[in-house]
């Protein structure tokens, strides 16, 4: 009985880690996709704004990128060391 419970807990941790990695990636993928598309649209419309838009792109990219990266860190910790 004891073994069964610990086994289930370990399995659940793996599932939880997998969910964190996957769902975090989905959100960021949509976000970065929209962001990149709009960036290209903006540059195509007004190429002279390229340097300014690139800076802003990277700032927002860093913001969007952060949340799934945190999920990756916690998820990997749960899977391999939890």
């Amino acid at each position: 009985m004891e073994d069964l419970i610990t086994l289930e807990l370990a399995t659940l941790l793996h599932v939880a880690g997998g969910l964190m990695l996957g769902l975090g990636a989905v959100g960021a993928a949509v976000g970065v996709g929209v962001l990149g598309g709009k960036y290209l649209e903006g540059v195509a419309r007004q190429p002279e704004l390229l340097p300014m838009l690139r800076t802003q792109l990277f700032i927002v990219l860093g913001l969007v990128d952060a949340v799934p990266m945190i999920a990756v860190g916690i998820g990997l910790y749960l899977i391999f060391a939890g």
Binding site: T55, I59, L63, A66, I70, A81
Partner: protein, 283 residues
């Protein structure tokens, strides 16, 4: 991984994620924790010696390098170091100028310090994960985490310092009354809704340092974690070791973007928050 035979993978990861901690043992004596359990038992009154030493050391490297460049600055043909420093200073100066439109001499140097310092702290992540800890082990130091920004104590301390500056300039530019009025009347400018406004704006205010510190910590922690997992592959046979070498290079190349980006985002968000703190016109 010199002592990998005696460790499991979990122990190896745990070992890499434990700081060298100095604090009070439960029996009342002061000293350095020998195991992760001892470090955990020390509770609040403990210091992560490695994080402190590396972050302060890297701060001194930054100051020394830029001071050297400034002292040897010439109007003639500049050397490599001067060129390099000029590029960084101009880049930060332009960025700050485009975001921050008020008069404050502190902001640009602050942004420069944060950018370069955080970048240097993040750069330690690219040093292969076993080099320095194994070297420290030869000198009898059991734990050594060389990336200060994977320690939430360091990132949250920086975020809290920025938060104090936000509060200081908010009160200085708007007055205490003006600051509280901005918190109370901002989304809905109707007096009976002031408590609701205040709760919403208060959460926004507190979320600023929290997200600032956790973003940097989360990114670097995840990066370090992946480097440790890759290092784990080196002891799993020749094919895995070869793949691990490729992974390490690819991840390091990608991480080079991440660490620069996160240092830049931390600096830019600091400037944005401080610009908001200087904003005095009524909404």
């Amino acid at each position: 991984m010199a002592s990998a035979e005696a460790q499991t993978g979990t122990e190896y990861i745990r070992h890499h994620l434990t700081n060298l901690t100095y604090g009070q043992h439960p029996d009342g004596t002061w000293g350095i924790a020998q195991t992760a359990e001892e470090a955990g038992a020390m509770g609040f009154w403990s210091v992560h010696v490695d994080s402190m030493a590396w972050s302060i050391g890297l701060g001194l490297v930054f100051l020394g390098l830029f001071r050297r460049a400034a002292r040897h600055a010439t109007a003639g043909v500049p050397g490599g170091l001067q060129n390099f420093v000029e590029i960084i200073v101009e880049f930060i100066d332009e960025t700050v100028e485009s975001i921050f439109s008020h008069k404050n001499d502190l902001i640009a140097p602050l942004a420069l310090t944060i950018f370069v310092w955080v970048f240097l702290m993040n750069l330690m992540d690219l040093v292969p994960v076993d080099w320095v800890p194994e070297l420290a082990k030869l000198f009898g130091v059991h734990y050594m985490k060389i990336v200060p920004s994977t320690d939430p104590n360091i990132t949250m301390a920086m975020a809290l310092s920025v938060f104090v500056l936000i509060l200081y300039y908010s009160v200085k530019c708007k007055g205490l009354g003006g600051f509280l009025a901005e918190l109370s009347f901002h989304p809905f400018p109707w007096k009976p809704l002031a408590p609701v406004n205040f709760m919403l704006e208060f959460v926004t205010l507190v979320a600023k340092p929290l997200s600032l510190g956790l973003r940097l910590f989360g990114n670097l922690y995840a990066g370090e974690m992946i480097f440790v997992l890759i290092a784990l592959m080196f002891s799993a046979g020749f094919v895995f070791a070869l793949a691990g070498g490729v992974f390490q290079f690819v991840w390091a190349a990608f991480h080079l973007i991440v660490i620069t980006l996160q240092a830049f985002v931390f600096a830019v968000l600091t400037v944005v928050y401080l610009a908001q703190a200087h904003e005095t016109e009524e909404h």
